[in-house]
Structures are given as C-alpha cells and as structure tokens.
C-alpha cells in the first residue's frame, strides 16, 4: 500500500535536481575561496552571491518538473483531475523548493565546514541564509508557472538561461541599491554587519512575489488586489534597508599577537587569525635585511572603515591599548594593508604584495631616470636592492603581483649598466651584508642610495 504522503516529484527526480542545485551553489562561491574562508560574514555573503548560478538551476529544475506531464503526455489527466491544476502546480513547486533547499544547503556545506574550521571570530547567523532560501522559492514558483507556457523540453534551459542573464544584468552596481534590495553584493563583509531585519526584508521580497504569482494563477481576479496589498505592505522595506550596512566594532577591534620574534602584528579581530601569514613574511624580510631593520617591528593593519582618519600617534595609542605584552619603546610601528589598494579590508593576506609594501617601507623608492627616447630607463639603486630582495624571497619580478608594482625583470627598466653592482651584492655573505646595510641605513631609508655605495 502506498504511503499517505504521496509525492508529486519522485524521489529520484528530486535527488537529481537537488544535486544539480548543490553543484551550482558550490560552484558559485568555491572558486573564490580566498575571499571568504575563515570569515562567517563573508562566507554567508559569498553563498548569497552564489545564487547567480543556483537560482537559474532552481528555476530550470522547477520548469523541468512542471513540464513532466506534457513531456510524458499525461497532461490530459491533470486537466481532468478533480483538483484544480494550479494546486497541483503549486504542490509541484513546493516540493521542488524543498529539494532545492536541500541542494542549496548541501552546496553551502563545504564553505560552512571550511570556515568553521578556520574562523576564530564570530559565529554563523542562520537568519542570513533566509534570502537564499526565499530566492529559491521564487525561482521554483516562477519556473513552474512560466514553464507551462514554453515548449516542454526547452522550458528548463530557456528559463535557466533567462534567469542567469536577468540576474547578471540586475547585479550591475547592485551595491549602490538599498541593502534590502541588494540580492548580489560583491563587497567585502569582513568588518561589516547588517541588522537582522535587513535579511528578513531581503527574504520578504521574493516570498511576497512568489505568493503573488501563486495567487494570480489561482484567482486571476484577485491578483491586482493582492499586488496592491503586497506592494503597500512591502513599501516600508524600501526605507528600512537603506544604508544599513555598517562597520562592526567588534570585528574591527584591534588584536595584537607576537607570532614571530621581533615582529608584533596588530589586526582587526575579524582577521586576527591571519597574523601568522603576516608575521612570517615580515620575519623573513627582517632576517634578510638585518642591519637595515634594527628595531622590533609592530605591523598594524587599521582599515579606514575601523578607525577613520587616525594619525600615527593614535595608531600607536591603539596598539598600546590592545597589546597585553610589553611594547618595546624602540619598536617601529608600520601600518600595512593585507592586500594593497583595497583599504585594508580584505579577508586574506597576499604574501607577495605584503613583501612589496614592506620593502617600500624600508627601501624608499627613488625617482627613475629615462633616456631621451623614453625607453630603456635605467634602474635606480633601490630597484637593484629590491630586485635582490624579491629574488631571495621568491617574489615575482614581472610586476604581476598587483597594481602599482614596478616590474623589476628588465622589461621596464634596464639593469645592464648595474651588472657589476648586482654581482657585488650577490657576493656578500650574511655578515658582510648586514654590515653594509647598517652603514648605509639612512641613505637606503631616505632614498639617497647611490651606485657608489655598492662597494
């Protein structure tokens, strides 16, 4: 005897669709893992953005299920059924949505587990997942409804493609829209937060739209009235969501750690787990440039969003307040960004960019010289020294490490006239090098190093 709970969507079909949605969801965010791993707010945001792929999959899945009867030529039975066709369709959409939800959660699981393993700050917020599930609901209802009007075999691909294209278009400058209406937002959330009701509002929109579509199908004459009511009810959401993404003071609170001798790293609490990734390269650099770097170093990452425009003294004060250990009076405080050029909010550390930025701190760049043709500019002494550092630390010389990085591979400036100096620098042992760096410390730091100093 068959079970009372008979499913319109067969388990086998449901499982297949859930797997497809899970794969789409996972593909939508796993590729850029470096941007979210270890940060709950970024993981949740990345999963929300993965809807660019999982929603088309959900729409296609719903369309595929809704056209089953026509593809298998038993749609006449549905038309002749005692229950109205819209109820069967609504149930199909609801069951498909449950499978889609299962797929979305399975697809999100790798990211959640990975972040749970890495995160040292914050915790998951279930409410932030509501917009994703509500988006899936709308996708299923739209897929089931519109799928009815398309050729049965082509409904799924056409709707999936259409959904992707529309989502892609809707995502243009989406971050400038109100928070409640921003479905796709590529901005970092590492140091930011939004109140719970913003996520409720984000979930309310697609839920209301899905309800409107179902009611329109069930009672066409009531659709206008419902649309008006839903619009009136949802109108306040436009206002409550405006500009409500705000810095999270707990995430931005400075946390200092001393993971390597002579290097203290102070970072916002949300990214404090990255301290070893900063202190490691900094320690390597300090060891290489012994003689030039003579004092303990305090590396401070104070993103603008966290502190506003603080001066050097404020930075030192902030470090002192948040450092349990004894901050050496002679320590040199250096501000840095984990990823140059993005106001220091990133959730990852780019080793090469970090070394480049720190090298510029201690080896001051000099203005270059160009020949009359404007080509073959000669490398400056600091170029030579930095190239030597990069070679030792395995940093690419071709300028590919990021915007603003000067190519030191000879493509922009020529090192040929400095071949003797380069050979001399290479020939120094560790003790000789430290002595030379100590002797020319002021010149190197002030950008006054000359070729004559290479002896």
């Amino acid at each position: 005897m068959s079970a009372r709970l008979s499913l319109v969507v067969p388990v086998r079909t449901g499982l297949t669709l859930a797997l497809v949605v899970a794969a789409a969801q996972a593909a939508g965010y796993l590729g850029r893992w470096v941007e979210w791993v270890g940060s709950w707010s970024d993981t949740e945001r990345a999963n929300g953005n993965a809807i660019i792929l999982s929603l088309p999959a959900a729409v296609g899945a719903a369309a595929w299920v809704s056209t089953t009867a026509r593809r298998r030529r038993f749609d006449g039975l549905i038309q002749a059924a005692s229950r109205p066709a819209w109820r069967i369709s609504a149930r199909q959409a609801a069951e498909t949505w449950l499978w889609v939800c299962a797929g979305l959660l399975v697809g999100a699981l790798p990211g959640v587990l990975w972040t749970a393993r890495e995160a040292t700050f914050d915790q998951p917020h279930l409410i932030r997942w509501l917009p994703l599930l509500a988006g899936g609901l709308l996708g299923c209802v739209v897929g089931a409804t519109v799928g009815h009007r398309l050729p049965p075999v082509l409904a799924a691909p056409l709707l999936a493609v259409g959904c992707y294209v529309v989502l892609g278009f809707a995502s243009i400058e989406a971050e400038t829209s109100t928070e409640a209406l921003t479905l796709l937002d590529g901005r970092s959330m590492t140091l930011w937060t939004a109140p719970a009701w913003v996520y409720l509002a984000q979930a309310a929109w697609p839920t209301l739209a899905a309800a409107a579509v179902v009611i329109r199908r069930a009672h066409p004459w009531r659709s206008w009235a419902f649309g008006m009511l839903a619009g009136a009810a949802a109108a306040p959401l436009l206002y409550v969501g405006y500009a409500d993404r705000r810095p999270d003071p707990a995430a931005a609170a400075l946390t200092c750690r001393n993971d390597a001798p002579g290097v203290v790293v102070c970072m916002p609490a949300a990214t404090a787990r990255l301290s070893p990734a900063v202190s490691g390269p900094a320690r390597e650099l300090a060891m290489l440039l012994r003689g030039l770097i003579t004092r303990p170093v305090v590396l401070v990452n104070l993103p603008g969003v966290a502190v506003g425009k603080r001066g050097y003294r404020d930075v030192v004060a902030a470090v002192s307040q948040n450092w349990d250990g004894q901050l050496p009076e002679t320590a040199q405080v250096v501000r840095f960004s984990p990823m140059a050029g993005n106001s220091g909010e990133a959730n990852w550390v780019d080793r090469d960019l970090l070394i480049d930025a720190l090298t510029r701190t201690w080896i001051r760049p000099q203005p270059g010289q160009q020949d009359l043709s404007g080509k073959n500019a000669h490398a400056t002494p600091d170029d030579l020294l930095r190239r030597w550092v990069f070679e030792r630390l395995g940093v690419p010389l071709d300028g590919s490490i990021g915007p603003g990085a000067k190519p030191l591979d000879g493509s922009l400036v020529t090192f040929e006239p400095l071949a003797d100096e380069a050979a001399w620098l290479d020939g120094l042992n560790q003790r000789q090098r430290a002595a030379w760096l100590r002797a020319h410390r002021d010149a190197i730091r002030s950008g006054a190093l000359t070729l004559a100093d290479f002896q």
Binding site: A24, A27, G31, N49, L53, G60, P151, A156, Y164, V165
Partner: protein, 217 residues
C-alpha cells in the same frame, strides 16, 4: 518523390516545424537585442580597442543552441534500426548544418553587438557550444542536448573556478585557445552524433527494459 517532398519529409522528421523556427528566431533576436542594450550599460568605461566577453552573451548563446538541439532527436528509432542504408551520412550532414547555422548566424549578428564584445571569441564560443551540444545529443539524446552546453557555460561562468587564461569561453586575450577547442569540439561532436545518432530513444528504451526487469523480479 521530388526533391521538395524529400526535403519537407526530412525537416518534419527532424522536428523542424514553423513553431520551432519561430522559437529559434526569437531566441537569436532576443539574445542580440538584449546584449545590445545591456552590454553598454555593463561596461560604460571600457576604452576603445578593449575586447572582452560578457557572461550574459555567452549564457544567452545556449538558448538558440538548445532550440537547435531539438532537431537532433530521432523519434523513429525502429525505422532507423531497420534502415537498409547507413545513416551516418545523413546525421553528419545534419550535424554540419546545425554547426554552420549556429556559426553563421552568430557571425552575421556580431556587428550588431557593441564593440567591446569580442566578435571572434563569440563565434568561437558558438562553435564550441554547438559542438558540445552535438556530442551531448549523441550520448544522452536530442531532448537533453542542451545539458552539455549549459553545464559548460555554468562551469566557465562560476567566479574564479577556472583560471582566467584557461577559460576558453571568456579569455578574449586568448582567442586561439577558444578556436582550437571550438574546432576540436565541432569535429568530435559531429563525429559522435554521426556515429551514435540521437541516443535518447535507445537510452530510454534501455532504461524501460531495465525497469521492466526490476519490476519482474
């Protein structure tokens, strides 16, 4: 039978109906009209000479290719099985026609698109996706021929999943890779379809037999 009758019969057997042609035309026109409007809005600051590929345009290509994929289905399996002549020539011819139509229409409509979209890459993408559609049709049937191109576009469009320089569908700076893959895909797709035909009915038949066997047990 005169030539026209033969052609009409062939087209009917291939499901080429006025409705399918209308859907196909609508898919092409919608794609290019939508791209003409949205691409300039998406990339308003691109300097002249810069060429790229918009994900909406690439995904949109799947729509007409899916419609054409319907014509790969061979509904009269029994007739084909009992045919006295080998069918690979007709299948190969049809595959070539599908490929040529896809590439030609894309190439013809490329000038309509904003200059920022790489025309060469778009045509290569069309050939690549069409070839994948043929191969998919050969393996799992014409009904599901869209599954291959749709999956490929999904993988290529997933943020950061495929390194930019190896992402043939989007690497406007490396159209050579896209063309190599397009030619390979077209040849392999056409060959697969010519050898296997629309595997869908056979696949379904095997499935039905399997299920019948399970029920009998």
């Amino acid at each position: 039978m005169n030539q026209c009758t033969i052609l009409a019969t062939l087209l009917a057997a291939r499901r080429v109906t006025p409705r399918l042609l209308a859907v196909l035309a609508a898919a092409w026109l919608t794609l290019f009209a939508f791209a003409s409007v949205t691409v300039p809005l998406k990339y308003p600051y691109e300097s002249p000479g810069v060429e790229l590929m918009d994900s909406g345009v690439v995904a949109g290509l799947v729509a007409p290719i899916s419609v054409l994929g319907r014509t790969l289905d061979e509904p009269c399996l029994q007739l084909l099985a009992a045919a006295s002549r080998r069918t690979w020539r007709e299948r190969l011819g049809w595959a070539a026609l599908v490929l040529a139509l896809t590439v030609a229409v894309t190439a013809l409509m490329t000038p309509i698109l904003p200059r920022v979209v790489s025309g060469q890459l778009l045509v290569a993408d069309a050939a690549l996706l069409s070839g994948v559609s043929l191969a998919t049709g050969g393996f799992i049937g014409g009904d599901l021929a869209w599954l291959g191109p749709l999956t490929l576009v999904g993988i290529a469009s997933a943020p950061g999943l495929v390194p930019a320089q190896w992402n043939a569908l989007y690497a406007a700076s490396n159209t050579q890779l896209a063309w190599i893959l397009a030619v390979l895909s077209a040849i392999l797709g056409a060959a697969t379809y010519a050898c296997r035909g629309s595997a869908g009915p056979q696949w379904r038949q095997r499935l039905t037999q399997d299920l019948a066997g399970v029920n009998a047990e």
